[in-house]
Each structure stands twice: as structure tokens, then as C-alpha cells.
């Protein structure tokens, strides 16, 4: 029998491949353990557009109902909408059914607590203990609550954004905006948001059918259609989302991808130009954030990778803005979540405020070159690898919050093991492309020697 290698039950939740490892009984049990962990209460459920979403959703419903939860079904909507609604409704928790940027055959459960943030690693460990123990809360007939449908998710989320960032004009005229929603959950919200902001919209891939026209990760190689659309339509800016609309990529009016690291940089620069406050981001995000914050006299706090690590630190530090370099902007005044719709509103208002093109705003950002590499590496050897690298670079400034980060005046490198796969991720950023490439190559060759 071929062993199943696609299922991953970890502190990031549960993810797997449909028709292979992610099967209804497993999902039902996982939902039961979540209902048991939260001891019933209202649970908000949303999903992205994947074809497996309905199957996964019903398996989750059954498990939650059996453990006495009141399920509130938002059906297809962005993940940040689920997070917004958990807080808005004062619910006990939520589950977003999405494999985010993963390919179409994947699906996953993301677990949300009452403050709209994902479970942190301790809470996820507790949940896993409940799951593995297998003794779930079961309620009797009359305590089972029928699923309650709620169609207010997207309208409520839109209203919240528009309260802070309403209609905009750019140099006296309406924006023309091109979007690519990858036939994901953003399809149901982003066109409406842009219309309410007073934009003229040219859209591709806004059919919420879960058939992805390209891999849903909004990285430059997946944005060629959007780049062409921006140029052909003469749009002022282009926006691309992943399947669950938490991550945002930007394309300039010249049809050039800005690079996903620059999404957060633009948002941070705009917000700090309006008011001062603390910025929180993860260890692997561009140094540009520090440069921008420094220019405004603001502090940057770096956390482990993972949205919840950023949001928890933001709460603790009462941060103004934060996010992740993969295109995830977190602006707590609107939503305590990576929210691409918030990112879009911020970028458009930034352009409107400055009255210049998006490419000139991008060009004004500090210039860095980014190299990201993944090296397959057996999990049991990761610790010794990190230890030896630590000795190798012992004379330099090191940050060991997660994995190993080596900081130099003009560059940094971050080496860590993945939460989701048996690989090691290497991220190097430098002022010059050659320098970044050379350092990344050096680290990889050291790994191969070990």
C-alpha cells in the first residue's frame, strides 16, 4: 500500500489532498474536537470556492453540531470576512475552509478563536490533544442546533472597510482598477468593494467556481494575465488575490508586478504617513519595513512566521499596523487579520493622497533584492543543521526567535524549517541582487556539506 504523504495535522490546522487524504470522517472528528475544545457555542464557518468546499463544509457541520455548537454558515467568502464576523457576532470561534494559496486539489481547515485570530501554537497543541484523545463532547437530540445561514458576512465586512476608507478620486477622476481574483472567494467581494470605492473595474477570473486559471499564490509568475490586462485596459493599478483573499499582490500601471513584499511596505508607509505607531511583522519580511518605520521614527517588532504570531504581538504591543511579506496586510482598526481588501483600500487611498502613479510609489520604496529557496531536508536533521550554521556565523548578529536569522548591515538571511513540509526555507535579502544570490548559494552549499 502506498503510504499517504499529503495529510498534515499540525498546529496550522489540518490540510490534505482531496480524494487522497482529506476525507470526511477525519474532518468530522477534527470538527468534533474543535467543538469539544470550545465547549459548544456559536461557530462561524466560511469557505473558499474550491470544488471540495461543500463536502468539507458538511463534514465540519456534522462534527460541530454533534458537539452542541450553533453553526453560522457564511458559505463562500474571504477568510478575513470569517475572522471579521467572528468578532462582529461575538461568536465562540470560527473555521475557514481553505487551502489558501495551495493548488486546487488541496483543502484545509483554519481554526479561529473568539477574537478573530487563529489559534496560537499552545492552543493548537491543546486542540490536537483533544483530537487525539478521541473522547468528544456529544449532545443529545434536543441540544442539536440547526445550521443558521448568514448572508451578512461580505456586506458587514464591506461596511467596516468603507467606514474608514470611502470613495476615492485620483487627480479629479475615478480610478481604473484591474483585478484577478483567481476564481476564488475574492470574486464575491472585491468587485463590489471597488465599485463602492468609486472605481471603474476591469476584472478577470471572478467566477467563484474554484477552477483556478493559474496557481492561486499571488507571486509574479502567476500574474502574467493580470499584467497584460493592466496594460491593455490602461488601468491605473492591478490587484491579485489568492483563493481565500487574505494575500494581495500589486501590478503597476506599466504592467509590472510590484513583488509581494512591497504590498505590506506600501500599506505601512501610507499608514505611518498619517499617524505614528508600532509596526509588527515576521522575521522573513523585507528590511524595507524597518527603513520606512525608521524614517517616521517608529518601532518594528519581528515575530515568528505565522499570522497568529504577528496578530498576538500586535495586540500585546497595541500596534498600529502589521503583516507579512507574502502580501498579508493587517490593519487592526478594520480587521485583526491578513486582509487583501483592506490592503486594496489602503493602496488606493495612498495613491489618491499622493496623486502620483503606483509605479512612482513603488519606486520610492527602499530597494532590496529577495532570494527565496527551499531545500528538501529530513526533519530529524534540522536541529543539528541550525546548530552548525549558528557556529559558522557565530561572529555575526544572530536572531534565534525562529530558526536562525543572520543580520548584516546591508543584508540578512533567515533559515528555518517549514511548518507544513519536510523542507528548509532559506530567505536572503540584500541591497544588491548579486550579494543576495551569492549568500543564498553559500548557505545551500554549507547545508549540502553537513
Amino acid at each position: 500500500m502506498k503510504p499517504i504523504r499529503t495529510l498534515k495535522i499540525s498546529i496550522s490546522g489540518i490540510r490534505g489532498v482531496i480524494g487522497d487524504s482529506l476525507l470526511p470522517p477525519l474532518l468530522t472528528r477534527f470538527a468534533e474536537s474543535f467543538g469539544t475544545y470550545l465547549n459548544s457555542g456559536e461557530i462561524v464557518i466560511g469557505r473558499d470556492t474550491r470544488t471540495s468546499g461543500e463536502m468539507v463544509k458538511h463534514a465540519v457541520f456534522a462534527g460541530l453540531m454533534s458537539s452542541g455548537c450553533q453553526v453560522i454558515d457564511l458559505d463562500i467568502c474571504p477568510v478575513p470576512t470569517v475572522q471579521h464576523m467572528v468578532r462582529e457576532l461575538g461568536a465562540r470561534g470560527g473555521i475557514a475552509i481553505t487551502a489558501s494559496h495551495n493548488p486546487v486539489e488541496w483543502n484545509a481547515l483554519k481554526l479561529i478563536r473568539s477574537d478573530g485570530c487563529f489559534l496560537n501554537s499552545y492552543q493548537a497543541e491543546e486542540l490536537l490533544s483533544v483530537y487525539h484523545q478521541g473522547d468528544y463532547k456529544k449532545v443529545r437530540e434536543l441540544e442539536i442546533r440547526e445550521v443558521r445561514k448568514n448572508e451578512q458576512g461580505i456586506p458587514s465586512h464591506l461596511k467596516r472597510i468603507l467606514e474608514s476608507y470611502g470613495p476615492v478620486k485620483w487627480n479629479g477622476r475615478n480610478f481604473k482598477v484591474a483585478i484577478d481574483c483567481c476564481n476564488g472567494a475574492g470574486s464575491l467581494m472585491t468587485p463590489r468593494l471597488l465599485e463602492r470605492l468609486g472605481c471603474e473595474v476591469v476584472a478577470i477570473n471572478t467566477t467563484p467556481n474554484g477552477i483556478f486559471p493559474h496557481p492561486p499564490e499571488p507571486v509574479p509568475q502567476n500574474l502574467t494575465d493580470l499584467c497584460r490586462l493592466v496594460k491593455e485596459s490602461g488601468a491605473d493599478v492591478g490587484f491579485a488575490q489568492d483563493a481565500d483573499a487574505d494575500r494581495l499582490a500589486i501590478v503597476s500601471e506599466e504592467g509590472m508586478p510590484a513583488g509581494e513584499e512591497n504590498t505590506l511596505a506600501l500599506a505601512v508607509k501610507f499608514v505611518l504617513s498619517q499617524e505614528r505607531g508600532t509596526v509588527v511583522t515576521n522575521l522573513s519580511t523585507t528590511q524595507a519595513i524597518d527603513d520606512i518605520a525608521q524614517a517616521f521614527g517608529c518601532r518594528v517588532i519581528r515575530t515568528k512566521i505565522g499570522e497568529v504570531n504577528v496578530t498576538e504581538t500586535m495586540k500585546k504591543e497595541n500596534a498600529l499596523i502589521g503583516g507579512e511579506g507574502n502580501g498579508g496586510v493587517i490593519f487592526p482598526r478594520i480587521n485583526f487579520a491578513r486582509d487583501s481588501m483592506v490592503g486594496i483600500a489602503l493602496v488606493l487611498h495612498y495613491m489618491a493622497r499622493c496623486g502620483v502613479s503606483i509605479s512612482s510609489l513603488i519606486n520610492e520604496l527602499p530597494k532590496y533584492y529577495f532570494v527565496k529557496q527551499t531545500v528538501p531536508y529530513p526533519s530529524f536533521r534540522v536541529r543539528s543543521l541550525l546548530k552548525q550554521l549558528q557556529e559558522t556565523y557565530s561572529g555575526e548578529r544572530l536572531d534565534q526567535t525562529e530558526g536562525l536569522k543572520i543580520l548584516r548591515p546591508d543584508a540578512w538571511a533567515h533559515i528555518r524549517s517549514s511548518n507544513t513540509e519536510p523542507i528548509v526555507r532559506i530567505v536572503v535579502e540584500a541591497r544588491h541582487e548579486d550579494l543576495a544570490r551569492a549568500w543564498a548559494a553559500e548557505i545551500v552549499s554549507r547545508m549540502e556539506k553537513l
Binding site: 482531496i18 480524494g19 470526511p24 463544509k57 463534514a59 456534522a62 454533534s66 443529545r140 437530540e141
Partner: protein, 458 residues
């Protein structure tokens, strides 16, 4: 002991105990695998757990590549009728039927609208136990399709079989108790369309069951009061999913559930003599009626699938069980309480008759039903032990071992068997003489006790 019962009558258990979502998901996967995907209809009765079970069923079916047609809350016979009309591959009825609040069940329907028979149920169970279910990839999953026209189809189909105008002219006053079950949105509407004055109670699907949903005289007290108060011509009681029917006469007398099939037997045979199919535990009155009208009776083991298959095979004019389930084969090969109501009203209208006159045509028997709770691990052994000892004795009775043990004498019979739906042994005895029926039941009960003591000593 919290019972779970897996039998020819489906998978049944107590919500919050044995009837878990994992179990349901696995059975749905097994059924989807067993049917090799295809179109599957899903319906449920009004139990609150129905929504939980429905989600588990839908998820399991989708994952095996089935195209799910979700009928929501809908009587089981309406689903069975739509299933055959659509030419679908199968169906799952989510309903504890006559079982009390707290229970729920999955009942598996095949492409001809009949439940899986014992052999097929065994095959399904093998698939379930093997746990190797069809796993369809993301691009072979089908969207759930919701349909709400099953009841419309059912009403149209039944009305078409009736002399509507004759019924309408009688302007019947009809009392009906839907037990807040799946018929709540169907039967009152049906009766209104027949120009009846409808006195409807317990027709709120969102409310709890006002009483146990089994339409026995004990559970028809409220209906009986309504019939008397409203001067209704007849009263009808449904179980939770529209399979079983109970009748109250215009004099306010609740008829035993055994009478439902007997009344329909009178109606069918008096119009067209033929075969009547029923199970071993159903009243002797059926045989007497068949003799009177020149028909014949075929007896099957207990379980709707046995009766339905025999009705189909023998082209019977009517079939059913003493529990209140009636099969009218010109509508479908399944218990259908709506069709039975229509046929009773038509007969009363055409013959200018009253329901108590019709009931009076049924020979009087006295029936005793007793249920003895046993743990699932001992039931089979106790029945085997009893059978062995009875076989070893000289008997004046005719013996039938096709389902448990049935002993028949000229003046009465007693039947001891394993329940299909609960963890218990049922004893049914019948005679024209109440004392004889009671003594037969006493005798059987003592023999069961002796057998169980012997088992315990082993």
C-alpha cells in the same frame, strides 16, 4: 447500554451516544461506494438531529462521487416516489420513523424505491466493515442540488389514482395528527385539495414531537379528542416520516395499528381479489379477509423490504405490516400513508360508508405485544436456544422459523423474534379469545426467560 441497531431496517441509534457523525459519514461513504456513485436522494424527518445527520450523509456521499439531491425535510415515501421518477441510483432517508425522540436512523433505498433487502444490507455492511471507500479527486466532486418538489409530485401522483370529484362531494371533516413530523407540510394540504374540512394538530415541523411518533392507540389520545370535539368523519395519525398510519373512527375509537392494513385489505380486495402480502407478526384477520374475498395471503419475515419485494414479485393488490405501514402497488412499492389516506377517503365516499362500518368488517382478534429488553450480545443466542428446545419437544403447533419462532394453533398464534429496530426480543400473540392470547404470550415470555437463564449459566 446505549443501543445501536444495524439491520435490514437500516442503521439506528441514539443521538449523542451511539449514533455518531463518524458512523453516519462512514455509512454514507459505504453506500456511495456500494452504489458506485450516481445520483442519490437524501431526505429527513423533523428531528433536530436531522440537520447534523444530513450534513454527515451529504459529506460522505459527495466524497465518493455521488451527485446528491437534497430534499430537506420530506416524507420518506415522497422521496421514494421521486427517486423512481428521476431514475436515480438510490436514496437515504434520515428518520427514526416511529422511534421515540432521541433516536435517529439511516434507511437505504435502492433504485426501484424499495429498501435494501437482507442480502443487499449485508453487502453494504461488508463494504462498511472493509472501510475501503471510493475516494474521488477534487474534479470529480458534484455540487449538491436542492429540490423541493417531491411533495408536489407525491400529491399529484396519489390524486391521479383517486376519484377526486366523488371525494370532494362528500365534504369530509378529517382530523389529522402529523406529530410535527415530515407530513406536516403535506397531509393537511392534500386534504384541503380534496375539499375536506381539515382539523389539523401537531403540524409544526420546528416543534418537538408531542407524543411518541408510533401511531398506536396510546399515542392517538389527542387525535381522538379532536375527532370527537370536531365531529370529524375520520382521524388519521402519521409517524415522523409518513410511513405508518393510525386511524380513529368517527365515534372517537382509535383503531389498533393492526387495523390499518386490515382496513386497506378490505378496500383493495372488495374491488379486486388478489394476493395480500404481509409479515409473520401481522394479524390473522388478514387471512380471514382473504378467505372472505377470495384472495390469498403471502407471509414474509419482518421488514418492509421483504414485504415490498413480495408485493412486486406476486403482483399483489396490497401489502403491508401490522405496524401501520401499507403498500399500495399502483402508487409505489413502499409504505405510503398518504396513499392509504386517499384510498380510505375514496372508499368511504364511493360506498357512502363510515369508517366504523369499514372497521367492523375486520374480524376481531385480540393481540398482545410485549418487548423484552436484552443486550445485543445475547439476543441471538437466546432465540437459538429457545428454537432448539422447542424443536426438540413434541408440538401440537405448526412451526415457522423464517423469522424467529412462530407457533400457530387453530385458535391462536405466538411469535418470538429479534427486533429489527431496537435491542429487544418481541413477543406477539393473537387469538379471538383475550385470555388465550395472554396465556400464549405468558408461555412465550416464560420460555424466553428460561432460555436466557440457561444462557447466563453457561
Amino acid at each position: 447500554m446505549n443501543p445501536l441497531k444495524i439491520s435490514i431496517s437500516g442503521v439506528r441509534g441514539i443521538v449523542g451516544a451511539t449514533f455518531t457523525p463518524e458512523l453516519v459519514v462512514n455509512f454514507a461513504q459505504a453506500f456511495g461506494t456500494y452504489l458506485d456513485s450516481g445520483q442519490i436522494l437524501v431526505c429527513r424527518d423533523t428531528r433536530p438531529s436531522g440537520s447534523m445527520v444530513r450534513s454527515a450523509v451529504i459529506s460522505g456521499l459527495i466524497s465518493t462521487g455521488c451527485k446528491v439531491i437534497d430534499l430537506g425535510i420530506c416524507p420518506t415515501p415522497s422521496m421514494q416516489l421521486l427517486l423512481t421518477a428521476m431514475g436515480a441510483s438510490g436514496g437515504i432517508a434520515i428518520s427514526g420513523g416511529h422511534n421515540p425522540e432521541g433516536w435517529n436512523a439511516l434507511k437505504f433505498v435502492r433504485d426501484d424505491g424499495i429498501y435494501l433487502n437482507a442480502l443487499q444490507a449485508g453487502e453494504l455492511l461488508d463494504v462498511f466493515h472493509q472501510s475501503e471507500f471510493t475516494k474521488m479527486p477534487w474534479n470529480k466532486l458534484h455540487k449538491v442540488q436542492e429540490r423541493n418538489d417531491a411533495i408536489d409530485l407525491h400529491l399529484a401522483r396519489v390524486k391521479k389514482s383517486l376519484q377526486i370529484e366523488v371525494i370532494r362531494q362528500r365534504r369530509f371533516v378529517v382530523a389529522v395528527d402529523c406529530c410535527n413530523g415530515a407530513c406536516s407540510r403535506m397531509t393537511p394540504r392534500f386534504l384541503e385539495e380534496l375539499d375536506c374540512k381539515v382539523v389539523s394538530i401537531n403540524d409544526s415541523p420546528s416543534e418537538r414531537f408531542p407524543h411518541d411518533p408510533n401511531p398506536t392507540p396510546t399515542n392517538m389520545q389527542q387525535l381522538r379528542a379532536m375527532v370527537k370535539a370536531s365531529g370529524a368523519d375520520v382521524g388519521f395519525a402519521h409517524d415522523a416520516d409518513g410511513e405508518r398510519l393510525g386511524i380513529v373512527t368517527e365515534q372517537g375509537v382509535p383503531l389498533s395499528e393492526e387495523y390499518t392494513l386490515a382496513v386497506l385489505t378490505v378496500i383493495q380486495l372488495s374491488q379486486k381479489p388478489g394476493v395480500v402480502v404481509t409479515n409473520l407478526s401481522t394479524t390473522q384477520a388478514i387471512d380471514d379477509l382473504a378467505t372472505r374475498y377470495g384472495g390469498s395471503v403471502i407471509r414474509t419475515p419482518i421488514g418492509q423490504a421483504y414485504v415490498a419485494e413480495a408485493v412486486k414479485e406476486t403482483r399483489a393488490v396490497v401489502g403491508g405490516e401490522g405496524s401501520g405501514g401499507v403498500i399500495l402497488p399502483d402508487i409505489q412499492f413502499s409504505h405510503d400513508s398518504l396513499a392509504a389516506i386517499g384510498r380510505v377517503l375514496e372508499f368511504l365516499a364511493v360506498r357512502q360508508n363510515t369508517i366504523s362500518d369499514l372497521a367492523a368488517a375486520v374480524p376481531r382478534f385480540y393481540m398482545v405485544k410485549r418487548n423484552l429488553g436484552f443486550s445485543p450480545s445475547t439476543i441471538y443466542a437466546v432465540i437459538q436456544d429457545l428454537r432448539a428446545s422447542i424443536e426438540s419437544e413434541a408440538q401440537t403447533a405448526t412451526l415457522d422459523f423464517s423469522d424467529g419462532i412462530k407457533l400457530s394453533w387453530p385458535d391462536g398464534w405466538v411469535h418470538v423474534r429479534d427486533s429489527n429496530t431496537e435491542s429487544m426480543i418481541r413477543i406477539i400473540a393473537e387469538s379471538k379469545e383475550p385470555s388465550r392470547a395472554e396465556s400464549l404470550a405468558d408461555w412465550a415470555q416464560t420460555r424466553v426467560r428460561i432460555a436466557s437463564v440457561r444462557m447466563a449459566e453457561r
